[in-house]
Assembly symmetry: D2
């Protein structure tokens, strides 16, 4: 059983009728609903919970954390961000969605500001440029999102381990829309689609990609301790 | 003319006779001396200078910053670290030497703790695994360092853009001793040799590698502003 | 059920008593025996079979092909090599072992001669430099092979997608001992240990790595046709 | 002085009035004219010359080879292709333009069929996704090509070392338009723009990119011999 925690700041849905109409129970619940299966158990966590719903206990019991944030980035305490960073370094998978590119946790793990161009309300076609990647399993050569926020290059991220998807926007821009990274034992997937005003997370291909990413990002190894280790004796020493 | 600033915490040399005997004017002066040429001008900066010698003006006038630190990592103010990070993201090259793997600036740019195994006083053979890389220019298939501190895997860094050198240690360990990264417009090279008690920076191959790295890391582009950019109109719009 | 075909030239075992003493039924049978499980079915194929045991039908029924060859490289017909290459490009996984670095199929997929340094009868310590990779699952920071042929850098392969293991040799050399590549839909893993005179494939860590590699390399997508495709109409065209 | 050889099959220009009107002296001469400078000397070679103009002597005197081919791919003898491959492996830079993606030499160095989608006469916007790369020096965030052949994903190449440019096509497709690879000592740049019917090579940004690529691809090291090397004694042996 893979244990997923879906974190959502859960602000837009409570403040905007437009957003509430799309995601009446919040983006996190929408994601929880399509992810839950016999092999995947899902809990949710939000900004308004104690410790943002991300206690040490919860993180220790999480294989993959999914992150959706936008206007509340600054309201996530630094202590929680460091806790999540350590969990990733020790093996927890992390899937960062859409506007999460400017979350404290993503910028901290990348070491860069993760800036980009943006413009609201465009049409996107998501192309797969790495169909052999496990995250692309079952995804056609491209699929379309009738309404999506435009995110454009240059995206100031480190060189990704793999670029799986590239977005084409009708307005004339391109974006590395699906990128993987490794940090410590943790596997990270950034996926660009998912503006709060559009039903992106109801798209079957978007759902499939997030399911694939959960399967890909779940830990295969754990790092107990984050510290340098002093070797008393050479590895060659037999005594 | 390439402008280099060599930063050294400059502590060991003032506190230890052993180290002072190897680097009487400090590691920074040794590096400055072999780097200075008709094409390269070098200044030095140390922890005991105001703002660690790294004012906005100095960084704005620096093409490549070289960093040697060890016991004074914590004494570099966070404000200075952020200033250096921004300079790198905007284009300044950065060469991090030896124990600088645990400097605040390197960990911040990597997003990982950069931990490793270590053991004092071993013998290292540095193998080139990427001889086509510009940093390997003029370097033989391998060279030896009779005395060097052992740094061993697993080194918790992000996947490097390129691994140029791999260290072999007589005591039985290996290490990715020369690694490149890109962060924003900045090119970064981490190079493992250089323990303060040994004359590593007097080795002609080590000197050649650092010279090559300066040439490789100097900026080819600048980023004026670190921020997301809102496009008012689609790129396709003609008016 | 994952379907594996283990290909072995099967020459040394029939010609050398030393080798026959280590692998009395051939290297292929040894690998088949430890790989076979409820989830993995294994067949073997050898140079002396019609079409080297690699007919179109066999390849179409293979998820992952494992390749051991050495002195018989030139005896594999070019037609068979092209057939295997096409199967890999269309999605079949490929695991190339030890002296298979000079097989026609590996060189053809790499586009390089895959040369290296070598020396017989050394002692190797295999270090994991990418413990988050699925192929490293369950493998300790390092393990030892009391007897192994030395393979040393520079190994003239293209930049691997990932380097998972680095070998340390008592004689003073290092080697990128475990490397991954993607070619078309096919995932490829090269693994250096496995000289025919030593019981390397009886080592439990070597067995675990090959099991992991089979799981990692099995296809997640197929490419039906190898050819450029002419689009009659723009993707944007609605009619 | 960097020595460049521009190879062009030189068929379209002699057979089509449309193409001849754009490139009256051939694409090779157009490229030669904008590349030639005080630091770069350029010769040209074409399919109709003895040995395609690519004798051992010419290749030995070439730092960077530029390749334009399309309908004449099959007319380049395999012996010449192997000769060029060896020169690249030993250090010569190679820049493959546009329809050269299906040239024998590019497919041989990649190990893949390098297939793609295509459609004639579209409009392209070339975005820079790696502005820190030396090949992007002086190039704006994007530039436009009013007329260009559409090349679309999925492009069956190995994972590039770096993706520098991504093409946006008005018809709805994307393409990794500028990619780098290393093969042996040789640096390779594939650049998609350059259909023979359009004046792409007269575009100042295209010219700047090719100039940058020449500077980037020139050799920094040579490999004398392509073969495995037997070490008689361990590197650790002192006698």
């Amino acid at each position: 059983m893979t244990k997923v925690t879906v974190w959502n700041e859960y602000l837009h849905e409570k403040e905007s009728e437009t957003v509430a109409a799309v995601y009446p129970k919040g983006i996190h619940t929408c994601i929880k609903d399509f992810l839950t299966s016999d092999e995947v158990s899902v809990r949710t966590a939000t900004l308004d919970m104690p410790a943002c719903g991300l206690s040490e206990e919860i993180l220790a019991d999480t294989d993959v954390l999914i992150w959706w944030g936008h206007k509340g980035h600054e309201r996530v305490p630094d202590e929680i961000v460091s806790r999540v960073q350590n969990a990733v370094l020790q093996g927890m998978g992390l899937i960062v969605l859409h506007s999460g590119h400017k979350s404290k946790i993503f910028m901290k793990l990348m070491g860069t500001p993760c800036d980009l161009l943006w413009r609201d309300n465009d049409r996107e076609r998501v192309w797969c440029v790495n169909p052999a990647h496990p995250i692309a399993k079952g995804i056609p050569p491209y699929f379309e999102l009738e309404h999506e926020e435009m995110y454009g290059e240059h995206f100031t991220i480190p060189t990704p381990d793999d670029v799986v998807f590239v977005g084409w926007f009708a307005g004339g821009e391109v974006f590395r829309s699906g990128c993987t990274f490794t940090r410590g034992m943790g596997k990270i997937f950034y996926f660009q689609p998912g503006h709060e005003e559009y039903p992106t997370y109801k798209n079957p291909f978007v759902q499939q990609i997030i399911k694939n990413a959960v399967e890909w990002a779940k830990p295969t190894a754990h790092l107990e301790k984050l510290a340098c280790t002093h070797l008393e004796k050479p590895t060659e020493s037999k005594n």
